[in-house]
Amino acid sequence: MDATSTCDRREDLVAYLYGECEAEERERIEAHLAACERCAAEVDGLRSVRRSLAAWAPPEADLGFRIVSDLPRREAPWWRRVGSRPAWGVAAAACVAAAFVLGVLDVRWEGDGVVIRLGRAAGGGASAEVTGPAEVAAPAVPVTAGAPEAVDDVLMRRIGTLIEQSERRQQQEFATRLLALAQEFELQRREDQMRVQQEVGALADYLVRVSGP
């Protein structure tokens, strides 16, 4: 490689300056510097700048950030919590409540959380369960469509099975949707909480800045 191309390639000189080139490349550049005064002066100048840069130190700041978890949770009273929920979340809760009132749902507390049962009738009613955190229990659905002592017994039984299957599908679907809704609701709640925290932080920053000199 001839001298001119080295003179033109400042990138190579920078790599050399910081000791980030292969041995072969380094030898080539050193040979060039011995011969080319201009590049030698350039490298000296850059070295001098690096020595000057060493004089710039950041201030001794008082840092000591620590992440604190397990903050004691202060729960607001329920009416306030309802007020701070996103509108659709409240609507979803209202749907569940309405279903409960209409007797479609059977909601009660069990060992590990809320159990929502579709179909309130205790005995033969079809039921789908939405249990606690994440599972959709497969509904055990006894046949409620009565088997008639009609002429076409086979046909009636078939119709009964179809109705039953259809009902079961709908209930499962409803249960799944309800569960998805609940999960989405929880995610949204966390996100909202985080956003509120961030906004409060930003507001505090702003106030400090505004009140400062």
Partner: protein
Amino acid sequence: MAITDDQLVALAAGGDTDAFNQLVVRWERPIFALAYRVLGQEDDARDVCQEAFLRAFRSIGGFKGQAKFSSWLYRIALNLCRDWIRRERRVTMVAPPVDADTGPLDILADPDSYASEEAVMRRELGRAVERIMAGLPEEQRTAIVLKEYHGLTFQEIADLQGCPLSTVKTRVYQGLAALRGHLERRGIRPGTALPERRPSPFSRLTAVRDSE
């Protein structure tokens, strides 16, 4: 044997807050220094540093060890710095005019006459470097800071800045060349990092203090 960053990251990802705080202790100084040199404001640098660790803490579960923890943290901090600069620029240009003061460094006018001459000169030089660096384009400044003060390889800087390797070298070269020009105009010639020494009335005093 000291516990590695990777081990602490694994613990932190499992919900161990103390492990994460150990990472904070290890990296808060470098991250603050990085933010300070890029932003030039102590308060802003502290905010960015804190925010960088908060973000890292929130997303540590998603950090799969595809990079070094420090590179990941640098990336978060640099992104915050960039946002910060963009926001500040909308409000007002903060960087002071670089050529406002091109006279020689006023070393002996420092009121703190009990500090050693060497320390005073160093501090003055540091301030001069700070002012000139503040006037460089952000990409050049960041590349120089990462190279000079954090010892990253050119390739690591290229990854962080999202540009080709040769661009990083060019940025560093252009930044250093600009610094050199400004420093020379301030009386610091190449080959001598500091201006010529003048006999100091305090040199004896300094010698006595040093021997204590």
